[in-house]
Each structure stands twice: as structure tokens, then as C-alpha cells.
Amino acid sequence: MSPDPGPHVGRFHPFTPLVLTLCVAVLAVAAPGPKTAAALYTTTVVAVFLGGVGRAALRALIPLAPLWFFLFLLHGVLGDGDQVVILGLSLSREGLAAAVTQACRLGAIATASLTLYASFSPARFVDAVADRGWSFSTAYLVVATLLALPRFRARALAIIDAQRSRGLRLRGSPLNRVRAIGPVTFPLLLGALAEVDERGYALETRCASGVVHRTPLDPPLDRVGDRAIRWLAGAGAVAVLLWRVFG
């Protein structure tokens, strides 16, 4: 009775994408220069496309594009040092290198995180945690946090629709938009608080507090390949971190 695990990345053990994302974040922070940062970003994007969730890499571009632009402006255009002319623009050579490094670091982290988010299966993750005999409340906290965003978004859209049907104008002048903040925000927050209460009641009566050992309904397979990937990625990330700190 499990849902289709979806893209290739969804067929991994749930801990594998989680560990890979953490390793990408560590490697991104540790990347010493533009070449290594660019290599890491490229590898991440290729891996994401091969994993069948290329859309996550494309979605990552939405928050990344303005950040990249400001990095280019801050370091490339306004940076000091040797200048180089590209397409008629005089740019700082060192600033460009710093901008590329930061842009690729952010790109790798955002792409890996959105991929994890896109491929995350709450039930498989909880089953994996239960299968190890680990804390259910911690697993629930992780899952609830990851799922809070889409739930909040759905509620916000419902409130916007309801308020628009009552004549609230959300478009037009900046004044209209500012006026709309209150009628949208207050019901959203109050509704969320009420939902937290009722969900707490429901979880309590469904024995979610004080779980001693939860039965995994469909424990995901932890194949040799999964374990190897996690150990290699973890060891690699730790090695690079140690090299950067002590090397």
C-alpha cells in the first residue's frame, strides 16, 4: 500500500538523499575557488537530472538568479584589483572569481536542497526511522517541518481566493497591495494557530506521543549501494573539510 516512489532518486533509501544534501552543503562551504565550486555545482546539477528531478534544478534558478546578479554586481562590477573587459564591461578579475565561487556554492546547496524536498517521501522517511528504532517524535518533527511550507501555501491560496471573492483587491497600486496584507495575513496566522491546536489533539488521541516502538508499515530497503554512497559521500565531505581546516 505504498505510493509510487516516483523519480529515480525516490528509489534510494530515504537517508541517502539526506546525507548527500548535507555533504553537498559541506563541500560547497569548503570549496576553495571558482573551479572547484563550479565543478561541484555542475556535478550536482548533472546528478539531479540523472535522478529524474531536473525540474528541481530549474526551480532553484528562481531564487538563485537575483542572488547571482547581486554577486556579479557587488564583486564583479564594484570589485577592486586587476580589471578585465568582457563584452565592453570593465570587471574586477578577483571579484569575478569570488562571485563565481559564491554563486556556484549557493547553486549547489539550493539545487541539492530543492531536490531533497522534491523527492522527499514523509511516510518512507518515518518508516526508515522506525525501522532503525529511532525516535518517532524527532522524525515527525523533521517531516512536519518539511511539509509545513506546502500546507501553509495551500492555506494562503485558499484565504486569498476567499478574500478576493469578498471584494478584496490584491492587484493594482502599491497602496492596494499594502491594504491587502492584513486581511490575508491575519486569517492565515489565526487559522494556522487553530490548526496546530486541533492537530495536536488528533495526534494525541492517535497515540503519537510517547511512542515506544513504531511499527514500520513498509520499511524501505537499505541496499549495499545506498550504504556505500552514504559512507563514501560522508567520508569525502569530512576529508575535504579536514583538508580545508588543517591543510
Binding site: 500500500m1 505510493p3 489533539y201 497515540c207
Partner: protein, 275 residues
């Protein structure tokens, strides 16, 4: 021994100027359906929260008097172990009662038994039975968040039925259901009572429940003011004086100036007015 016992029970929500429940004496026995009704704010929902132990443990506030649920004070922190899986609580908004982590209705219904550590084979068998009882077996692989309100309410009730509870506490359990769904839930509650469970329903579904419930308790201003067989209580005038309502036909008879005892169903109304 009563499955649920209130002796002079009262409850005041945090910051509330007056108690939501006061000096309440109430009992619900195994094998029977006790139906609580009253005007908005009469205290029936609070009584259920008190019985489940959620008030005051989750809500905060102050409780007075004695409350015993299956012989245990549900307000005690240690009551969770004694009552876990034995008390079913169904609240009016099905969407807020989903676990939030299930990807299928099957997983949703299996949430509580899995938390209790039941063996997988037992979980699978009980979940299948519960889905069949609520006529939602065909939805087993659907994502709970995509269900209609009625389907979701059935799934929530199934997620409690799976536990075979000793005490049911239901607050407007048919609020999102159509006529067929209400009839199905009423029949299910009767079967649960026959099985030996105590069923307590807080509802304004007067037209449906008066034929199912064994006892009707009418609340007003935070305490029970009427207690008796529904067929008897609903025919009288005092139920209206308490701010509650009787069936639509009894309401029609009252509006037409008919004195109590009034007819409760269409058939009774026809029989009365055809004379």
C-alpha cells in the same frame, strides 16, 4: 462501572471569564450510545475534550470535580499509557485530524496502530476491515489531502475504528457527510455499541441521531439539564427551552402551535395531522 463518569466536573478555559462546563454530572455506559446536544457554547465539545484528557492537558485552563474515563483520571500525565488506543476522539474538522505524514489513506488509517507497535499483519487486517466498514476501500491508495470533506471524515473515523476502542468520543462526526454517509456512520456506531463500546456523540444532527441514540443529554450553559430517552425528550417543550432543537418535524409542529408531545418523523407527523 460507567465507561465515562463526570461528578461535579467543571472546566474554565485559560483567560475565559466564566466556566465552559460547571458542576456537570454525566455518565456513559458500555454498550450504549449517549448523545449530547445543546445550543452553541453549551459545553458539549468541552465535555468531550475533558473526557479525552485533552482539557486541561493540552488546552490549559482549570478543571474541577471528578472525571473518570474507563476508570482513569484522563488529566493525569500517566493516563496516556492506560488509555492509549482505548479512547477514540473524532473532531468536527476532518482536515485538521490527518496525521500529516501519510501518503495514502491506508497509511493514514494505520497511523495509530503503527504508533502502538502492532504487528504488521494485524495492522493490515484491521485497516482493511476499517476501510470496508466505512465503505472507502477504493480510496486506500489515495492521498488523504486530496479527499473530499466527506471522504476525509470517513477516513478519520476509520482511523479510530481500527483501534477497536472501548470509548468513542465524537464531536459532530457527520458534519461533512451526505445522507448515505450519515446513515452509514449511525449504523457503525450502533455496531460499536453492540460490540460493547461506550459511544458518546456531541451533535446537532437531531433528525439522524434520535433514531440511533439510547440516551439524550441536553446541555445548557455548561451543564446537563435534561437526560432521558431521545424519543421522549425530543417530543417535549423543555428541549426548546434549553436552547437546543428537536427534529425538523417537531420544529414544524411547534411553529404550527401544536402542543407537546410532538411528532418527530414525517410518518408520525402525517399520522398526527391526518387525523
Amino acid at each position: 462501572m460507567s465507561a465515562l463518569l463526570f461528578k461535579g466536573a467543571g472546566f474554565t478555559y485559560p483567560g475565559a471569564p466564566s466556566p465552559a462546563l460547571r458542576d456537570c454530572v454525566l455518565h456513559a455506559d458500555a454498550g450504549s450510545i449517549t448523545w449530547l446536544t445543546g445550543a452553541l457554547g453549551a459545553g458539549t465539545s468541552t465535555a468531550l475534550l475533558l473526557a479525552a484528557g485533552l482539557a486541561p492537558r493540552h488546552t490549559g485552563g482549570e478543571r474541577t470535580g471528578t472525571v473518570l474515563t474507563l476508570g482513569v483520571d484522563p488529566a493525569l500525565p500517566s493516563s496516556g499509557a492506560a488509555l492509549g488506543g482505548r479512547v477514540a476522539l473524532v473532531l468536527p474538522s476532518p482536515a485538521t485530524q490527518l496525521s500529516g505524514i501519510a501518503e495514502t489513506v491506508f497509511q493514514e488509517v494505520a497511523f495509530a496502530p503503527a504508533n502502538l507497535g502492532w504487528p504488521r499483519a494485524r495492522i493490515t487486517a484491521r485497516v482493511s476491515d476499517a476501510l470496508t466498514a466505512l465503505a472507502i476501500s477504493h480510496l486506500a491508495n489515495r492521498e488523504p489531502g486530496t479527499l473530499s470533506g466527506g471522504e476525509m471524515q470517513r477516513a478519520v473515523i476509520a482511523s479510530m475504528l481500527v483501534l477497536e476502542p472501548d470509548l468513542w468520543l465524537l464531536d459532530e462526526p457527520t458534519s461533512a457527510l451526505d445522507t448515505a454517509g450519515r446513515a452509514l456512520v449511525h449504523a457503525l456506531l450502533r455496531r460499536e455499541a453492540v460490540r460493547g463500546a461506550a459511544v458518546v456523540v456531541a451533535s446537532e444532527d437531531t433528525d439522524g441521531l434520535h433514531q440511533v441514540a439510547d440516551r439524550l443529554v441536553v446541555f445548557a450553559d455548561g451543564c446537563p439539564v435534561l437526560d432521558g430517552p431521545p424519543q421522549e425528550v425530543l417530543r417535549g417543550e423543555r428541549v426548546w427551552e434549553a436552547g437546543a432543537a428537536s427534529t425538523a418535524i417537531a420544529g414544524l409542529a411547534r411553529a404550527a402551535g401544536n402542543a407537546a408531545p410532538r411528532p418527530l418523523t414525517v410518518d408520525e407527523g402525517v399520522a398526527r395531522w391526518a387525523r
